[in-house]
């Protein structure tokens, strides 16, 4: 089974929410829709589910056009950021409700409910009402309802966003395992790059209503097609700086340059944008090739085992993620090191020209 979006668009009150989008999701795969708030994740999911009809383009299900088909007639299940359960029903009845509405037999319903309750660790709670459960349990109940329906397409719209950190970690590990077996198409929307990497599968990055890239998650992470994708798929966002190529060298400013190696040798002379991830900014010289830049330290944030350093480099803000808890002088100039192997080269239009050497090696 496949779900294909063929050039679908969504315009609401003259505002384009979804630009023409073409995307094919394969059966039995975990797909992540990664994008910041208001990038159009929910709009795209609503189009896939059939809750909205696209302005143009087609939605194909196994090659069959279902664009005009109502959501009721498609096999779709959806889980939301809010914990949506029927408040007056018990957990058992909640999980059973989609099957009841489909007119399944009592035995079949009972078997399916108990199986998915077991998977979601809800068995001891079957007689409770949703409001007597914790947030995590309520969301498990909603997930069990989505599972039991055996839908071809399961849409998870930021299902863990309203949960606390610990529960989120727990469910994040369980969700791919549970859904792997069911053989449906899964689409998981999130704002967090980390979540996408943990879930694996494929990732589509979304920015202002456009899917900028779709492919296996690690590949999208290592070789983003453009600067926008790299920015979306990096938390904190990727840092950028202007560079130029003249002669046999790539000039980084501050008198720093790097010799051309690998694919960089084919680069034409001209101006480019260099991008590098926060975790590749170093405060000590670790490699012989590392370039050194002078920047003003604005803010440091300590996360426990790591420190975020916010740097001001000639008016451009960089964020670095360095190991250990650092006690650094604020407002003073410090040295930041960057290995050329960690630098992506984008054209001035934002398209990726040469991926970082480390990403190609991986």
């Amino acid at each position: 089974m496949t779900l294909t979006l063929d050039g679908v668009t969504k315009v609401v009150n003259g505002q384009t929410h979804i630009h023409p989008t073409t995307l094919t999701l394969q059966n039995g795969t975990m797909n992540v829709l990664l994008g910041p708030t208001l990038s159009g994740k929910t709009s795209l999911m609503r189009l896939m589910a059939g809750l909205d009809v696209p302005q143009s383009g087609r939605v194909l299900w196994n090659g069959e056009d279902v664009t005009r088909q109502r959501v009721q007639d498609r096999k779709v299940a959806m889980v939301y950021q809010q914990f949506i359960n029927y408040p007056s029903m018990t957990v058992y009845e909640n999980i059973a409700s989609p099957m009841r509405l489909l007119g399944k037999s009592r035995d079949e319903i009972d078997r399916a409910v108990r199986k998915s309750a077991e998977l979601m660790k809800l068995t001891p709670l079957l007689d409770r009402k949703p409001l007597e459960l914790s947030g995590g349990q309520q969301q498990r109940c909603a997930l069990a309802r989505a599972l039991v329906k055996n839908a071809g397409l399961v849409l998870l719209d930021e299902p863990l966003a309203n949960l606390d950190y610990k529960l989120r970690e727990e469910l994040r590990v369980e969700i791919p395992k549970i859904f792997e077996e069911s053989g449906s198409i899964f689409l998981y929307a999130t704002t967090e790059p980390e979540e996408a990497l943990l879930l694996g599968g494929n990732t589509a990055t979304l920015w202002e209503g456009r899917v900028t890239q779709f492919g296996p998650t690690p590949e999208v992470y290592r070789q983003p097609v453009d600067a926008t994708t790299a920015r979306v798929f990096s938390d904190p966002p990727m840092n950028f700086m202007q560079v130029s190529k003249t002669g046999g060298k790539l000039m980084f400013g501050d008198g720093q340059s790097s010799p051309l190696t690998g694919k960089l040798r084919d680069l034409a002379d001209g101006r480019y944008v260099a991008g590098f991830r926060p975790n590749h900014v170093e405060l000590e010289k670790h490699t012989a090739d590392a370039m050194v830049f002078t920047a003003t330290l604005d803010v440091t944030e300590i996360t426990g085992s790591e420190t975020y350093v916010h740097l001001d480099h000639n008016g451009v803000r960089w964020v670095g993620l360095v190991h250990g808890v650092r006690n650094l002088p604020l407002g003073k100039e410090i040295k930041a090191y960057l290995d050329p192997a960690h630098v992506y080269i984008f054209g001035e239009d934002g398209a990726l020209v040469v991926p970082a050497a480390y990403a190609l090696a991986a």
């Binding site: 589910a49 809750l51 959501v71 009721q72 779709v76 299940a77 959806m78 939301y80 950021q81 809010q82 949506i84 029927y86 408040p87 007056s88 029903m89 409700s97 989609p98 509405l101 489909l102 329906k149």
Partner: protein
Amino acid sequence: MEKTVNQKAWFLVLPVLLLVAFSAVIPLMTVVNYSVQDTFGNNVFFWAGLEWFTEVLESDRMWAALGRQLVFSGIILAIELPLGIFVALNMPKKGFWASVCLVLMALPLLIPWNVVGTIWQIFGRVDIGLLGHTLDAFGIDYNYTQGFIAAWATVIVMDVWHWTSLVALLAYAGLQSIPDAYYQAAKIDQASRWKVFRYIELPKMQGVLMIAILLRFMDSFMIYTEPFVVTGGGPGNSTTFLSIDLVKMALGQFDLGPAAASRSCTSW
């Protein structure tokens, strides 16, 4: 550390204490006081013990008034609750017309009881009232000063007209607080309109509906002005509800003792 003793906070509570004492506690205690005494006027009172209570509890008049009161409250709740929910379900959820509807709904609630009574009293008159005259023209025998059914119908319709919007507004507030995702989820589950109402809207409105029932029951239980203005409790005693009966007893006949006793009984 030594504690400083300062009892001046008393002064802050004093205004409330005085207000509640004069507006509630003292009048209530006066009623209780009357209920155990008898008088022949001139402000001379005799101890009567529980005499009035026995009399009131054995009197058909008080039980009849209480019965009428319960039937009235039951009927108006049975009409206003479903009607209010129905109106709320059909009100627009947002936009210009939602505001218009809200204002229209709030209008009857702003009209004082005696004005509502007067409006309906004139509205229902056969000679000059639009409603009365129209019904008469259709050959319907409608006269709230003579017919038992006409009198009850008028009082009930008047209350429904006056207070359904309160239930509607409360139900509307309950409906507005339901996230859109619930409706989406139900749609995906292929739930029917009735099922959406039964399993999403009704449970989510439960809290506000309980408040609506409470408010409407309390208010209707002490209804006085409206039926007093329209029917004066008649014809006969047919629309003499508890409060009207009380006032008749206490002010009309100056039977302070029994009135106070019956008030005390119904309050509990």
